[in-house]
Symmetry: C2
Subunit: 113 residues, 2 copies
């Protein structure tokens, strides 16, 4: 298991989880781009959105439902937040394990990068 996010999800790196369930874990980004910058990942190793298949319907849905729960817990639901998933090189995806960025605590600009 060489994937850093698989190691994090397995608890091997002692990462503090903001949220965890049987399928999903969430933790703070090490290079935060907003006062709140959280990464939400499936425990299952899926490289990227463009690798998703029908069998991943549930886990994909759980990523978004986890975002709702985390936003609620972190008091971001009212003021708002942005969700971002980078897929591949044009988007700057750095870790090849699907991760959803949740950014909040400041006004976000447009375009989104």
């Amino acid at each position: 298991m060489s994937c850093i996010f698989c190691k994090i999800a397995a608890g091997e790196l002692g990462t503090k989880f903001i949220y965890e369930s049987d399928d999903i874990v969430a933790f703070r980004d090490l290079n935060p781009q907003a006062p709140q910058h959280i990464l939400i990942i499936p425990r299952e190793h899926i490289e990227k959105v463009s690798d998703l298949q029908e069998k991943h319907l549930n886990i994909a849905g759980k990523l978004l439902l986890a975002a709702q729960k985390i936003a609620q817990k972190e008091n971001l639901a009212e003021d708002g937040f942005r969700l971002v998933i980078n897929n591949g090189k044009n988007a700057g995806q750095e870790v090849m394990h699907i991760h959803m960025h949740l950014l909040g605590g400041r006004k976000m600009n447009w375009p989104p990068g």
Copy 2:
């Protein structure tokens, strides 16, 4: 029905769909921020991610699976793309009907807005 995205999903505005299924439609953003800028929405009127409930698990998953299908169809899977969902005022959400932006065809910057 006063929601513009509900009207689009119902076909009332003659919008050309990039993708459509029983639950999801996708169409081009009128103010594109990248060579390819597509909006993916559920036909069901859900205001925002922070309103998602457990009953929305399937529709939430279908949003991400639709992104995979559209990226494939539009030849964005290999070079990459970014997915963005704005929730509420800090994120600049303009239409209160969940929509996922799919941006591709150029290198995206960081931070994402």
